[in-house]
Amino acid sequence: MLLPEAAHNKELIVQDLTCTGTARQRLMDFGIFKGTHITLKGAAPLGDPFIVGINNSTVAIRKEDAQKIIVTKGEDI
């Protein structure tokens, strides 16, 4: 599924990044690769960007970029 559709506060595993260019580079800069474990913590007040937990940090990712992160459910924490 796409990241915005995932359940909140559950562990997710990144399956693929479909974005290109700087958006893709930025996600990788933050350590988001195929196989990375992330959690969706929620969204900003206006529904965009999304708040994503990765390792011991939190990053905000715009909807259009988040829609290009394909995830599957991981084991529940």
């Binding site: 796409l2 974005c19 700087t22 958006a23 893709r24 580079q25 930025r26 996600l27 990788m28 800069d29 933050f30 350590g31 690769f33 195929k34 913590k41 929620g42 900003a44 007040p45 206006l46 529904g47 965009d48 960007p49 708040i51 937990g53 390792n55 011991n56 940090s57 939190t58 990053v59 905000a60 990712i61 715009r62 909807k63 259009e64 970029d65 829609q67 290009k68």
Partner: protein
Amino acid sequence: MKIALAGNPNSGKTTLFNELTQLNQKIGNWPGVTVEKKEGKYFKDKSIEIIDLPGIYSLSPISEDERVANNFLKKENPDVIINVIDSTNLERSLALTLQLLETDISVVLALNMEDELAHNGLILNVTNIEKELSVPAVSVSARKKLHLDILIEKAKQISAAKRTAFKAGGKTEEEKAEFRHNYIISRINLFRTKTESKAQKCTDRIDKIVLNKWLAFPIFALAIWLMYFVSIQIVGEYGTSAMEWLFCDVIGEGLSVWLKNIGAAPWVVSLAVEGIVEGVGTVLSFVPQILMLFIFITFLEAVGYMARVAVIMDRLFRKLGLSGKSFIPMIIGTGCTVPAILSTKTIEDEAERRATIMLAPFVPCSAKVPVFALIAGALFPYNSFVAPSMYFMGILMVIIGGLILKTGRKNNTNRSSFVMELPHYRLPKFKNTATEVWNKIKDFIVRAGTVILVASIILWFLSHSNWAFETVKIEDSIISFIGAALSWIFTPLGFGTTAAVVAILTGMMTKELVITVFAVLLVGETDSSLNTALAAAFTPQAAYAFMTLLLLSPPCVAAMAAIRRELGSSKLMFAAIGFQCAMAYTVALIINQAGNLWQSDRTLCISLMTVAAVVAIIAISVYNVIRRKRTGAACGKCSGCRGCANASACSFKNDKTQN
């Protein structure tokens, strides 16, 4: 010997730099505080030069500040790179380390934030990190000044020793990035043991409130209102009147008596008391308010709220052709517009960055605030919303200005990505906050002692002399001549008086001068207090229009220079200033004319305003419909074709935004 500090944004490079050099560069808790390289000397050994660089995630820069760091590392050949690592986030930080190890510069790791490891549930294994990456590493805390000497010792040794290289597998940049990431992840458990992170839990809890759907905006508005209310209303009331008493009654009176006693000429007494003490003293009397304002801003910067504001505002600001990151300058700008304009370097998209530079000066800086405090205090003494309303008016104008600039842009598509780290909340250290506040307030005081002092003398001279340099009353002085010659420009705004006209003109240099002008020109002659003189000189609507005009006009010469530098050409700078002045004049005109109409004929005013509002709403809706058709935004199922999973089935297939 040259040592460069490099590492991820918000990993504590500048904190380390400040400790090593004993300098006071600006620090804060959000990615992108440092946007230019800073140089200093190690305070224990002046032969060691230390260079602080803006944060980078990799050696493939995207934004302007990253380019600065990257260019330095590639072209200036430092002897050693101290790679500052956020120890609480090794997974990300060490990927950059591997990339640095691929260059031919020696690297030492500073595993920073040692003091925060326990709170994050982490224990580091420094020996394993050193062994696996074959690079010297020291666990340090820049904030607590732990092990900094050892770090420098290791840096000295490595520069003499043979450096170790790393080679990432893969051909493309992306394959290499993946290789480095996997290299770190496969060894991460050797580097650290991990238990539950209390810091993350605590941050999550605060974020639930601060980023809450319903609470986020009220909390932000409350924070800003509180900042102005406490500074201007509470501290201002007592602090400023105490300072005024000190300057006008004690120093002014004392100086005047003393000068008369030693037999000084009357014009000397007048220059000293009415010119210098009034002109400089009135500006200095606002120091308590400005101090309070700086304390608030510094706190907001240090605690970690800035990145949240960027996130909250991103959606809204994108509609204006800006980025959420554009909001950071709008908070820094409440202190000073110059660093606000510099901080736009972190905005990746050039069009967004330019628009932000043009709009950021609409946010009232700390030099504009005393003017608002003065006028609001004189004309609206019982209304605590007038001064903060200037901030929100500024933001409103950013929104309207953003829409105007966006319409003028050829390519309306929004190409930038927005991935921003939200740092852990952190209680600011008292010493750092105090230094930061002192640095800011020092500038204000220095300006009062230099620019404003000189300007006070010139103003006094111009208001006491005619073209033949004879001493005359203010009505016949050079300044009245200038005022009268230009008053037609400002009469429609409600303030064609000499003092107001001169205030606006001199205010282009720096905004505190507006206060000086009023103090010298209004008080000098009449002998009444500045408040009474101001209340007599303005109608309420003219006063509000005057405040708005000042709010939206460029803050000072230094800000204009910063705009020129960041926009890259004088032509663009004049375009920016022209745009700001046009906005300022138009809005001030509307306020004054609407106010006048309201006073003379309320029903007509209300009906006209209703008509204007209806026309505006219709115009906006029509514009939106046309725009949607053109760009294919919101074809029903998505917020725009870019990023939409249904884009291929979308009826707006020829949409430009898909590219």
